[in-house]
């Protein structure tokens, strides 16, 4: 980074932010944990009859079997509540020091544990499956937000993720079904996404059109186009064109046998592994390579980048098309990586959620992963809460993933700063 020819602070270029969390925010987190502790103590512990137990299932094949965890809810939740509140008090007492997030995270886990035990009281919670579904719900969001990172770090806003998802899902299903080769289907999904990435790049870079408008138009266009082609092409020939098989889970030897996390992380289909690999690759490439430095320079200050000899438009074209390819692959995961069949509007707005995850993640792959995991966990949690019949009205459960994500992220992340030239057309003059 020090060899950078451009005079920008490391923070501006997106290097890890080493500043400490502000005192106000630390105190806010502390008060929040204390409150959670109090709620847990009175609402989720002392109100439960001492005899009531909750059981967590912790085993799924192919992992080594672990016996279910059976807990007396009251006597587990009281210490958890105290721990949660104590960690909150600790945060307030410590003030601005390293490790704030770690302590806050520990407090949140204590609360979640107590909450799940309360929700499963008198019954069983398949904790293993809760984690597995979290990862499944997170995967397309990771593709989507990586696509966003690729585009926006180079200075082009990609609202078209949703449309690229749909295009990738459609072509992935169609080619995967017609050829009987799922790998070709995945390639086709990437191609379809890349195609609309290229369209976004062409209209916004060649002609300087408003990127947000073009992005939204691409979304609307992809929705209409896939609906049209579904009705006219796929449905009349459903068995040939719209019934691909799906990628089966591939268990990684040994690792998949680890209890609890093994099946969740290491017995997944190829899209989950691909998302993980892409996450690492994009993160390293963006922050530790010359290529990434150039991309970020173009996204922050294209004029400065141009003066040192970087071809701004070429970088942007490349990134926006690559971003489209990544989103298209994510789209293919909806069909050949999951349910095996394309249906109308099947991405259902997850492209926009991915975009939000990227913003909440401060335009960083790992940050976006955090936000996506939080959303994925909330979605699968609400599914389990509805089945466990905790008595929360369905509309509130439906809101929960969005509310939790917004609340946590805005509480923890605070103000975010986009790349300096994000969304600004570049003109050489």
């Amino acid at each position: 980074m020090s060899s950078s020819p451009i005079a920008l602070s490391p923070a501006a270029l997106g290097a890890p932010d080493r500043r400490l969390v502000s005192l106000g925010r630390v105190r806010g987190m502390g008060v929040f944990l204390v409150l959670l502790g109090v709620i847990t103590l009175f609402g989720l512990s002392l109100s439960i009859p001492p005899s009531e137990h909750a059981q967590f299932l912790l085993t799924a094949p192919p992992a080594v079997s672990v016996p279910p965890l059976s807990m007396p809810v009251r006597w587990v939740n009281v210490p958890l509540a105290v721990l949660c509140a104590a960690l909150g008090a600790l945060l307030i007492a410590r003030g601005r020091r390293r490790g704030t997030y770690l302590i806050f995270g520990a407090g949140t886990v204590a609360f979640l544990w107590a909450f799940l035990a309360w929700a499963a009281r008198g019954g069983t919670l398949n904790f293993e499956q809760l984690l597995a579904e979290t990862l499944v719900e997170t995967t397309p969001l990771v593709f989507g937000s990586l696509s966003g990172v690729m585009c926006e770090r180079s200075g082009v806003i990609n609202i078209a993720i949703e449309g690229q998802f749909l295009a990738g899902a459609f072509l992935g299903a169609m080619i995967g079904s017609a050829t009987g080769n799922l790998w070709l289907g995945a390639l086709a999904g990437g191609f379809a996404g890349g195609l609309f990435g290229a369209l976004l790049a062409f209209l916004s870079l060649r002609y300087g059109a408003d990127q947000i408008i073009v992005g939204i138009l691409i979304d609307a266009f992809c929705l209409g186009l896939t609906n049209f082609l579904l009705a006219q092409v796929l449905t009349p020939d459903q068995t040939t064109l719209n019934s691909p098989s799906t990628f089966s889970p591939v268990a990684i030897p040994l690792l998949s046998k680890i209890p609890i996390v093994g099946p969740v992380l290491f017995d997944q289909n190829v899209f989950v592994y691909l998302a993980a690999v892409l996450l690492v690759v994009v993160n390293v490439a963006l922050f530790s390579t010359r290529w990434g430095l150039r991309v970020r320079a173009v996204g922050e200050h294209p004029k400065a980048a141009e003066t040192v000899g970087i071809h701004v438009l070429a970088v942007r074209y490349r990134n926006v098309i690559l971003g489209g390819v990544i989103a298209g692959l994510g789209g293919a995961s909806f069909t050949i990586g999951s349910v095996g069949q394309f249906s109308s509007d099947m991405s259902s707005g997850l492209g926009y959620v991915a975009l939000a995850a990227m913003i909440f993640g401060r335009w960083r792959p790992l940050g976006a992963l955090g936000a996506a995991l939080l959303f994925g966990f909330s979605v699968s949690l609400q599914s389990f809460l509805a089945v466990l019949n905790v008595g929360i009205p369905s509309p509130f459960l439906a809101m929960a993933p969005y509310v939790i994500t917004i609340a946590v992220v805005s509480g923890l992340v605070g103000r975010v700063r986009p790349p300096g030239a994000d969304g600004v057309p570049y003109r050489r003059d």
């Binding site: 300087g208 059109a209 209409g224 009705a231 909806f334 997850l350």
Partner: protein, 395 residues
């Protein structure tokens, strides 16, 4: 593509007007994109017309009869009520070849009003709107155009509107049979249901399903539990309130979430899944198939072995409502001048709702269960068996 399709609706120029100010080619290209995306919806409709869409009104005036469907956001190929209503239009044409038909596929709830207006301007003989969500738009249009005939699937107006035939189905009656059958087939003692949205046309199914399970427990002294829906204990059942709490995907499009919800139900022990979520149920079918032997499901609205035949081997039965016959009857009545507005209620008694044949499960469902189902059906028709879940204790 936009250039090749003359029947661009009135909305297209409006969408394009915003771009005229901009000088760049990009804006023009973007405008063309938007026009294309709208034209696509119409193109798909106009391909079904005997002549071009623009000539349709003249055909109508010449004595032909045009039946027009506005789908809800699930789209025309939802393998559920939108598709059923469309099949009804096709069936009506088979009966009376002078009938032609077309449709517009809503991509968002804001399409309902303009699409209905488009069809009014096209002089459709009858406009078929689909779904509870379209009730307000349909009622407003019916009041604005009192001469236009409408029929709406899945709604009941109080008071009735004289130019709207509202088709409504007591699907808790056949879902009761489905619930009983699911409970009888369950090996784990748990069955599960989830809905697309917490709205009465969905939860009425879930209510009936849970009631059927509870009835099974009561008369067989069993303890099968229904997961995913808990009817409210205190409610005014007669008023058509199907309140409760349960599991919903909150849309009719996200198959992935349907898969997740089915996996949750199975993770919590259910081995028979009843999704009430249109195309989202396909995601549940993918999950049930992946879960392997010993996991089954029941399809909803239409006979799953016809509308989603790739998953036929998973379906014990389908809890159907007779959208096709009732819409077909409404269209034919409108075409032949015998149309009357009001409410139609489909029940087990008039075959407006029913459970489908077992198909691949014909040899697996015990004869005693089939016999009992016939008895229950007669009991419901006679009013001797209540389909209110609160009539039976929950286990």
């Amino acid at each position: 593509m936009a250039m090749n399709h003359p029947p661009v609706p009135e909305t297209a120029p409006r969408a394009r007007r915003g771009f005229v100010r901009s000088r760049t080619l990009a804006a023009l290209a973007a405008g063309a994109l938007s026009a294309t995306s709208i034209a696509v919806g119409v193109a798909s409709a106009s391909t079904h017309l005997p002549s071009s869409g623009r000539r349709a009104p003249r055909v109508a005036h010449a004595g032909g009869f045009l039946a027009c469907e506005v789908t809800d956001t699930g789209g025309i190929n939802d393998e559920s009520f939108n598709e059923s209503a469309y099949n009804a239009l096709k069936a009506a044409k088979k009966v009376d070849p002078s009938i032609s038909y077309t449709y517009l596929s809503s991509t968002s709830t804001s399409d309902y009003v303009p699409y209905i207006n488009d069809f009014v301007n096209k002089h459709c003989g009858i406009i078929v709107t689909v779904g509870y969500d379209m009730a307000d738009a349909t009622a407003a249009a019916a009041k604005k155009y009192p001469g236009q005939k409408f029929t709406i699937v899945d709604y009941e107006y109080t008071p009735t509107i004289k130019n709207v035939l509202a088709l409504h189905y007591d699907t808790n009656q056949d879902a009761f049979l489905g619930g009983y059958l699911a409970a009888a087939m369950s090996k784990t003692g748990k069955v599960g249901t989830f809905g697309g949205q917490d709205i009465p046309t969905v939860t009425i199914y879930m209510d009936g399903f849970v009631a059927g399970v509870r009835y099974y427990d009561k008369i067989n002294h069993a303890h099968v539990v229904a997961l995913g829906w808990t009817p409210a204990a205190k409610r005014n059942y007669a008023s058509g309130s199907f309140a409760g709490t349960g599991l919903f995907t909150n849309n009719f499009t996200d198959q992935g979430l349907g898969k997740t919800d089915a996996e949750t139900l199975m993770a919590e022990g259910a081995d028979v899944i009843f999704p009430v979520a249109g195309a989202v149920g396909l995601g549940a079918a993918a999950a049930v198939k992946q879960a392997g032997p010993g996991h089954y499901m029941e399809w909803v609205d239409t006979d799953g072995c016809i509308s989603a035949k790739q998953y036929c081997s998973l379906f014990i039965t389908s809890v159907t409502k007779g959208i096709v016959p009732s819409v077909e009857t409404a269209v034919l009545a409108a075409a032949h001048g015998t149309f009357h507005g009001g409410n139609y209620i489909g029940t087990l008694a008039n075959n407006g709702v029913s459970i489908s044949p077992y198909h691949t499960f014909a040899s697996k469902v015990p004869a005693a269960v089939t016999k009992e189902l016939a008895k229950i059906k007669a009991g419901i028709i006679a009013g001797k068996i209540s389909v209110d879940p609160n009539s039976y204790p929950a286990s």
